[in-house]
Amino acid sequence: MAIATTLDREQVAVAKEESQMSVIWRRFRKHKLAVVGLFIIGTLTLLALTAQLWTPYDPTVPGFNSGVQAFANPGYVNPNNGDVYIMGTDNIGRDVLSRLAYGGQISLSVGLLCTLLVAMIGTIIGSIAGFFGGFVDTLLMRIVDLVLSLPFLPMLLALSIVLGPGYWTIVIILTAFGWPGTSRLVRGSVLSLRNLDFVEATRALGASNTRIITRHLLPNSLAPIIVDATLNVGGFIVAESSVSFLGFGISEPASSWGNILAGLEDVARQAPLQLIWPGLLIFLTVLSINFIGDALRDALDPRLKL
């Protein structure tokens, strides 16, 4: 009996020592595919960030002038100077490996940047709408409805023409179409929390609206926001590469995974293997992100016993 009590106390002590982060990490680790995904994302990000250090050739300089063959298959060696092109060359003789690395910088950063902006704007607007209700809520939600009633990809193409294709255009457009979803989510979460007793108690203690929102409501709705943001990264990367693939996104000579694929499309008959790489990178990144999002959803859900 005495032994059992001691054990209980020890367990309680251990549970207290474990921080929230380590609980989440312990639960996250159970999802093996998500851990692999995290590793893949980490590696790709690192490779993309350090592209300036390790890529063998300039990704924007056509190789024509130095006699590099266009559409060369992987492992091509330039007969003039013995340069090796591990992943071959594209339609104007540029090194595909270097282009992929630099393209990774753009594709990954578009995904991350848009996600951050969308999470920020969506959280601010969603919490204002949910907390204050009434006219503010109606107005904000009608704007959300308006944006959501616009056909996504067609509008993306149209706006890209209006603003002129480019990096910041893509970021702005994807953010403009991304925030309504997040703000609806945050609004719902804030709506369900704002009438709970603890909020009432905080108010009775004299807390301001800003304090209630930032210190009490948002921390309690953090889990769905994080999961939503994680899954958004993948969505934005696919959207960016789709638009770039259609020729309305990141434009030459800068590279993104989408426009590399577009550049290789016409040459596919000559070097079909080239098509694999950009698509595979997008696929692996998005797949990893989806696994991570799935694992986070489980790890952050306190009701789920793992």
Binding site: S149, L150, P151, F283
Partner: protein, 434 residues
């Protein structure tokens, strides 16, 4: 419910007005816009350049301010412009501006002819318009309806295409041209509606939606019932792959492998190897017979349908699995099991029917997609549907066509949202709209 419907409809109309104004305003911010190609073109002299730019500006009505143009688009846009005095005046001015700089004799003759005829046309059109200029004057509505006059989308005239098919009414480009008799030759042309971009897209999209549903539902039900089984894990993994696969990459790979590589092998001697056409709606677009040849159509539809179905199968089966799991945990399902009902009855009658309720929304929201088509897939397989039409319109700054497609799409989104809500209330008696 009636009150709710009326309120929703009014909100929908407001949303559409705002949307159209927003899109119209945004389009007009495009640098260059429809005269971008005129600005880029090389000219010998500055005067020639100015004349060309002025002619193009007048032709597209860009000399008017944006509000006037938007109102014209709503309610004053003659599709043929034959009865639009403003347009005719613009044309006359443009012709007069272009005439002194023209050296090409054929063009010169044409311009001179137009300049000679236009003043009379302008006078006639102005006279016709004067009797019906007030939008809200209903006293002479009958006489106004009987004369050909200016339009705008509110009168059912959606304008004429600028670039994609210059001068053709936008609605004819989308819905296809109906049967007509050529007035100069007397030849009767059959209706082209059933092989219009919209018809092609409807065939493609409804097939892929149908096939996706037929595959996704059994998968979703099975993996929910056998949760955490090996099959469930395999299907879940498949869903993740399907959701993460970029459409354009999957499409390109299938196109290369089954369309091009198989044909190469086929031609190289492996004659037993079938290969698929690499694009188009039919082998020969000019042959009307091929459009009703099911074999030809199916061969062309196979690849795009597979590409489009993959991601929706993955997504929908996940949705159905989630809602099925939710339902299977309910008390009344446990009661059904406890009563000793057959597995089949419990799953199909008690659980599935309730798990299908949230899917109603999903299916209703697929309606706009049926119309809009799939830009990426249609482009890869060169499929002449709405996606391709829109893609061409964007590339060439064909605003009337873009506006029409975007507005019809937005309209369908609004409508399908309403249908989803109504259908939800019908299948789920717990939901009441007050």
């Amino acid at each position: 419910m009636t009150t709710y419907l009326i309120r929703r409809s009014l909100q929908g109309v407001l949303v559409l007005i705002f949307t159209s104004a927003l899109i119209y305003g945004l389009l007009n911010l495009t640098p260059g816009g429809p005269i971008g190609d005129v600005l880029q073109r090389p000219y010998r002299t500055a005067a020639e350049r100015d004349a060309a730019i002025r002619a193009a500006t007048l032709r597209y009505g860009l000399d008017k301010d944006i509000v006037t143009r938007y109102i014209f688009w709503l309610y004053n846009w003659d599709p043929t412009n034959a009865n639009n005095p403003t347009y005719l005046t613009n044309t006359l001015q443009a012709d007069q501006a272009e005439l002194p700089g023209t050296t090409d004799p054929a063009r010169k003759t044409q311009l001179q002819g137009e300049v000679a005829v236009l003043p009379a046309q302008i006078a006639a059109a102005s006279k016709a318009l004067a009797t019906c200029s007030n939008l809200f004057d209903f006293s002479n509505l009958g006489s106004c309806l009987s004369i050909p006059r200016n339009g705008g989308i509110l009168t059912g005239n959606w304008g004429a295409s600028w670039k994609v098919s210059t001068g053709a009414p936008v609605l004819d480009l989308i819905f296809g041209r109906g049967a007509y008799t050529d007035p100069s030759t007397g030849v009767v042309h059959a209706s082209e509606r059933w092989r219009s971009p919209l018809a092609n897209t409807l065939v493609l999209m409804s097939l892929s939606v149908l096939i996706s549903l037929l595959i996704a539902f059994p998968i979703g039900v099975y993996s929910a019932v056998k949760q955490y089984s090996a099959t469930d894990y395999a299907l879940t993994l498949f869903s993740f792959f399907g959701i993460s696969m970029p459409t354009f990459w999957f499409g390109l790979i299938l196109y290369l492998l089954l369309g091009i590589q198989f044909k190469t092998w086929h031609d190289a001697g492996a004659t037993w190897l079938p290969y698929l056409p690499t694009g188009g709606v039919v082998d020969d677009v000019s042959s009307t017979a091929q459009y009703s040849d099911i074999g030809v159509r199916v061969r062309h539809l196979l690849l795009p349908v597979v590409v489009l179905s993959l991601s929706s199968v993955a997504g929908w089966s996940r949705f159905l699995r989630a809602s099925m799991l939710e339902v299977l945990r309910q008390d009344y399902v446990r009661t059904a099991w406890a009563k000793g009902l057959k597995q089949r009855t419990v799953i199909l009658k008690h659980a599935l029917r309730n798990a299908l309720i949230p899917q109603v929304t999903l299916i209703a929201l697929a309606i706009p997609v049926l119309f809009g088509g799939a830009i990426i897939t249609e482009r890869i397989f060169n499929y002449g549907g709405m996606g391709t039409l829109y893609f061409n319109a964007v590339g060439q700054n064909d605003w009337p066509l873009m506006m029409s497609i975007l507005i019809i799409s937005s309209f369908l989104v609004v409508i399908s949202n309403m249908i989803a809500d109504i259908a939800y209330a019908i299948v789920d008696p717990r939901i009441r709209y007050s």
